[in-house]
C-alpha cells in the first residue's frame, strides 16, 4: 500500500486527463459535494503525493497544484472547508506518516470529504511555547489508555469528531522522551469541551478537560514514547498558507485605515498622515515579500522567508489597528459588542475597529509566539547558537513548573 506503481509515470498532462475523467463521470454541477470529494479521493486526486488507495497516486507533491488548478479551471472548488483546516492540514500528514494501514483506512477519507471534523489537543496551561513540557497523563490499562489532563486553545473542539492528542506517558524520563500521541474520539466519555472566552468578548477557542478518558491502544499514532517526533510532523505542517494567487496592493487592515483616511478628511493630522504612510509602506513591503515567496514556491525554490511572514503580519495588524483607533478619535472609544458568543467565520472587516485592535493581539501569540518565531529565525536561518538548555537531561517530573 505504501508503494505507488503509477507514480513514476505521472506527469501534468496525465493528471489533467485523470481530472477530466473524474469530472466526466461525476458532474460537479449535479453531484453532492461530499460524494464528489469521495470520488476524487478514490481517484487518488485528493493528495496526489499520498499513496494509491489513500487519496493519492504516489505522484510528486508539486503536481498537486496542477490538479487543484485544473479543478478550479473546471469550476469545482469545494466550499465550507474552513472547519477542516486541522484535519486536512495537520492530522492527515501525521496519520499518513505514522498511522497503521487500519488507521489510514479509517480516518483519511472521511477527513477529506469533510464528514469528520478534527481538532488538536496539544497546548496546555503549563505548556505553551514549551509544548514538550505538557503534563496530560496517559496511563496504560491493558489494551486501553486512561487519560487525564487539561488542554487549551483548541479551536473547533466543540464541533470536532476526533482530536490529535499528545500526552505524557513516562514522567520519569526527560520531557521529549516520555510522550505518546493518540487519536482521541471527542464523543468519548470524560471529554468535556468548554468555551474559552477571549479579551474580545467571544470564544473562538476551547478548553478541553479530559477525565479518565479511555482510548484504545489501536488509536495510538507512532510508538509509545515517540509522541514528540510525531507531534513535530504535525507542527511542521502548521504554517502560513501561501495562496496560489498574488494579493492585490492595499489589502487587509491597511485598506480599512486607508479608507477611513480617504473618506474622513476631518480626522486628518500631519502626524497621523506620516504614521499612516509608514504603515502603508510596511504593508506593501510585507505584501511584496509574500508575493516573492509565492513566486519562489512556484518555481520550486522555497525560501526561509516563510517563517517570517506570520511574524511580520502580526506586528502589522497590531500597529495598523492601533492607528485606526487613534485616527478615529472619539469613535475609537467605542466597541460593537461584548456578548459572549462563538463566532462562526466572521471576517475581521465586519467587526468594529476596537475588535481589530483586540483580536490582532492574539496574532503574535497563537500558532507560535513572535518570541519563538524570532528564536527559530535566529537559529535555523541565521545559524546562531541555541539557548543554553537546562531541561534536556532532567526527568519531566523533576522540572520546575
Amino acid at each position: 500500500m505504501t508503494t505507488a506503481p503509477a507514480g513514476a509515470s505521472l506527469d501534468a498532462p496525465a493528471l489533467r486527463r485523470r481530472v477530466a475523467a473524474l469530472v466526466e463521470t461525476h458532474d460537479p454541477a449535479t453531484t453532492d459535494q461530499r460524494e464528489f470529494l469521495a470520488a476524487r479521493f478514490d481517484a487518488g486526486l485528493a493528495w496526489v503525493h499520498f499513496p494509491e488507495g489513500e487519496g493519492g497516486l504516489g505522484a510528486p507533491r508539486a503536481l498537486q497544484a496542477v490538479v487543484d488548478q485544473e479543478f478550479e479551471r473546471l469550476g469545482f472548488v469545494p466550499t465550507g472547508r474552513e472547519g477542516l483546516v486541522i484535519g486536512l492540514g495537520m492530522a492527515a500528514p501525521t496519520i499518513l506518516a505514522f498511522g497503521t494501514p487500519e488507521q489510514r483506512a479509517r480516518y483519511l477519507k472521511p477527513l477529506y470529504t469533510g464528514e469528520e471534523v478534527w481538532c488538536q489537543l496539544f497546548s496546555e496551561p503549563g505548556a505553551g511555547s514549551d509544548l514538550a513540557a505538557l503534563g496530560t497523563r496517559a496511563v496504560r490499562d491493558g489494551d486501553t489508555w486512561v487519560v487525564n489532563g487539561q488542554k487549551v486553545w483548541t479551536s473547533l473542539a466543540h464541533r470536532a469528531d476526533f482530536a490529535i492528542l499528545v500526552t505524557r506517558t513516562d514522567p520519569d524520563v526527560p520531557k521529549h522522551k516520555g510522550m505518546t500521541y493518540f487519536v482521541c474520539d471527542m464523543s468519548a466519555e470524560g471529554v468535556d469541551v468548554r468555551p474559552l472566552r477571549q479579551l474580545t468578548g467571544e470564544a473562538e477557542f476551547n478548553e478541553v478537560y479530559l477525565t479518565d478518558v479511555r482510548i484504545p491502544d489501536s488509536q495510538r499514532l507512532g510508538a509509545e514514547g515517540e509522541g514528540w517526533r510525531v507531534a513535530q510532523t504535525t507542527l511542521m505542517n502548521e504554517r502560513v498558507a501561501i495562496g496560489g494567487h498574488p494579493e492585490p496592493r492595499e489589502g487587509g487592515l491597511i485598506a480599512v485605515a486607508a479608507h477611513i483616511w480617504r473618506t474622513r478628511p476631518e480626522l486628518r493630522t500631519p502626524g497621523l498622515h506620516d504614521a499612516l504612510l509608514r504603515l502603508w509602506v510596511e504593508a506593501e513591503a510585507a505584501r511584496l515579500t509574500k508575493e516573492r515567496l509565492r513566486q519562489q514556491l512556484a518555481v520550486g525554490q522555497p525560501g526561509p522567508e516563510g517563517s517570517a511572514a506570520k511574524f511580520a503580519f502580526s506586528r502589522l495588524n497590531q500597529e495598523i489597528s492601533g492607528l485606526e483607533l487613534e485616527l478615529l478619535g472619539e469613535e475609537g472609544l467605542l466597541y460593537d459588542d461584548w456578548t459572549f458568543r462563538r463566532p462562526e467565520g466572521v471576517s475581521l472587516a465586519a467587526r468594529s475597529p476596537g475588535f481589530h485592535y483586540l483580536r490582532s493581539k492574539g496574532n503574535s501569540i497563537e500558532g507560535g509566539t513572535s518570541e519563538i518565531l524570532r528564536n527559530i529565525i535566529a537559529e535555523r536561518v541565521l545559524g546562531l547558537p541555541g539557548e543554553i538548555r537546562v531541561d534536556k537531561d532532567v526527568a519531566w517530573k523533576d522540572l520546575p513548573k
Binding site: R197, L199, P270, E330, K361
Partner: protein, 380 residues
C-alpha cells in the same frame, strides 16, 4: 524658554494618601471584582466612590471653605495613579477632575461642594476625546436659560447628578449647570469596559449659567488642561500595574525549565519598559506640579503656560508608555493574557482608550509645537 523648578518627588503626605487609597482599592476593588462588575448592568461602583469620598478623594484640590480637602492637584494626581493601577470604575475623572475643575475655574465655588463631598457626582458635557486646545464646542445651544443639543462620549455622565455644559448662546460661549435629570443620558458600548461613556441630549433643559464669554472659554480650556495632566497620572498607574504584574509573572512562569524572566530578550524588554515608566513618573509629577501651581495663582500667565506645556508633554509621552506597557503585559503573559478571565485586558482597554481621551499623543505634539516655538511645516 523658561520654566519654574517643580518639585518632582512625592511628599510624605502624598505617600500616606497613596497608601490609604491603595489599601481601600485592594480591599474593595481587586481586579477580579472589577471583572465581575463590568459584566453587570451598573459599571460605576458608587459605593466605592462614596468610600473614597469618605477619605477625601473627591475634593482634594477644592479649598476647605468650599467643602474640599484643601490639598492640591498634586495629591489628585497621586489618587489618579492609584485609580489607574486598579482600573476602579469610579467617577473620579468626570466628577472630581473635569467637572470640579470647570466649576472652580469658572468661579462657581458654590456648585463644587456637593461634588467635593461625594454627595453628588458631576460630569463635564464634552466628548472625552476633546483635546485642551479644541475650539469651544457648539453642539449645545443655549436660549433663554434652556439648553438644546446632543453631546456624545461624555465620561461619567451615566452616574452623574449634575452636568457642567459648555454651550453657545446668542451672547456667545457660556458654561452652564444642569441637573442630570433634565437631560436624556444614554449609555454607549465602550472599548474601555471600566469607564462608561454616554450620549447626553438636552431638549430645552433648564440650565444655570456660571460663566460666559472669554471666562467660559478659559474655564473650559483650563479644565481640559488639568484633565490632561491628571489623566497622565492615571496612565502612569496603568503602566505600573502592567509592568509589576508582568515582572511577577515572568519570575514564576516556567517554560523550557526556566522562568521566562531569565530569557534575555524578555529581560531587555522589561528593562526598556522600566526605563520608560521611570521617565513617565518624572513627566507626570512635573505635569501635576505645574497644574497645581497654575491653579494656585490663576492670574499668572506664565504658570498657565507651563501647565499647558507640561500637560501636553505628559499626554504626548505617557500615552505611548501606558499602551506599550499594557500591550507587553498581554504579549508576555502569552495565552493567558489573551483570555477574558485574566485582568490584563482591562488595562489594555483602559490604556488604549486613555491614549485617545483628551486628545491623542499626536495632537498633543502638535500643540507642543505651537507652545515651544517649533512651528509646523509651511508655517513660516
Amino acid at each position: 524658554m523658561s520654566e519654574k523648578r517643580l518639585d518632582l518627588l512625592y511628599t510624605e503626605v502624598e505617600q500616606e494618601l497613596r497608601a490609604s487609597v491603595r489599601s481601600l482599592l485592594e480591599d474593595k476593588s481587586p481586579p477580579s471584582a472589577v471583572l465581575a462588575r463590568v459584566e453587570g448592568d451598573q459599571v460605576t461602583d458608587t459605593a466605592l466612590w462614596k468610600e473614597l469620598a469618605g477619605i477625601g478623594v473627591a475634593g482634594l484640590p477644592v479649598p476647605e471653605e468650599l467643602g474640599g480637602a484643601g490639598a492640591s492637584l498634586r495629591e489628585s494626581a497621586v489618587v489618579a495613579e492609584e485609580l489607574g493601577r486598579s482600573v476602579a470604575p469610579v467617577p473620579f475623572l468626570g466628577s472630581a477632575v473635569l467637572a470640579t475643575a470647570a466649576l472652580l475655574e469658572a468661579g462657581a465655588g458654590d456648585d463644587v461642594a456637593a461634588l467635593a463631598s461625594g454627595e453628588a457626582v458631576g460630569a463635564l458635557a464634552v466628548p472625552l476625546a476633546t483635546p485642551p486646545g479644541a475650539a469651544f464646542p457648539e453642539a449645545v445651544r443655549a436660549e433663554d436659560g434652556a439648553l438644546s443639543g446632543t453631546v456624545t462620549g461624555v465620561v461619567d455622565a451615566v452616574a452623574a447628578d449634575v452636568l457642567v455644559v459648555p454651550a453657545a448662546g446668542p451672547e456667545g460661549p457660556g458654561l452652564y449647570v444642569v441637573e442630570a435629570a433634565a437631560a436624556r443620558v444614554t449609555p454607549v458600548v465602550t472599548l474601555d469596559l471600566t469607564r462608561p461613556l454616554a450620549e447626553v441630549a438636552f431638549d430645552g433643559s433648564a440650565a444655570r449659567r456660571v460663566a460666559s464669554g472669554a471666562a467660559a472659554q478659559e474655564a473650559l480650556r483650563r479644565a481640559l488642561v488639568t484633565g490632561a495632566a491628571l489623566l497622565s497620572a492615571e496612565q502612569l498607574g496603568v503602566a505600573e500595574w502592567a509592568l509589576d504584574t508582568t515582572v511577577a509573572y515572568a519570575k514564576t512562569r516556567h517554560q523550557f525549565g526556566r522562568p521566562i524572566g531569565s530569557f534575555q530578550a524578555v529581560k531587555h524588554r522589561l528593562a526598556d519598559l522600566w526605563v520608560a515608566i521611570s521617565q513617565a513618573r518624572a513627566v507626570v509629577r512635573s505635569a501635576a506640579s505645574a497644574a497645581a501651581t497654575a491653579r494656585q495663582d490663576p492670574g499668572d500667565a506664565e504658570a498657565a503656560r507651563e501647565a499647558e506645556v507640561n500637560a501636553a508633554l505628559a499626554q504626548a509621552f505617557v500615552s505611548g508608555v501606558a499602551v506599550k506597557a499594557a500591550e507587553e503585559a498581554v504579549q508576555l503573559h502569552g495565552g493567558i493574557g489573551f483570555t477574558w478571565e485574566h485582568p490584563a485586558h482591562l488595562f489594555l482597554k483602559r490604556a488604549k482608550s486613555d491614549s485617545i481621551a483628551l486628545g491623542t499623543a499626536d495632537r498633543h505634539r502638535l500643540a507642543l509645537g505651537r507652545l515651544v516655538d517649533l512651528p509646523a511645516a509651511g508655517s513660516d
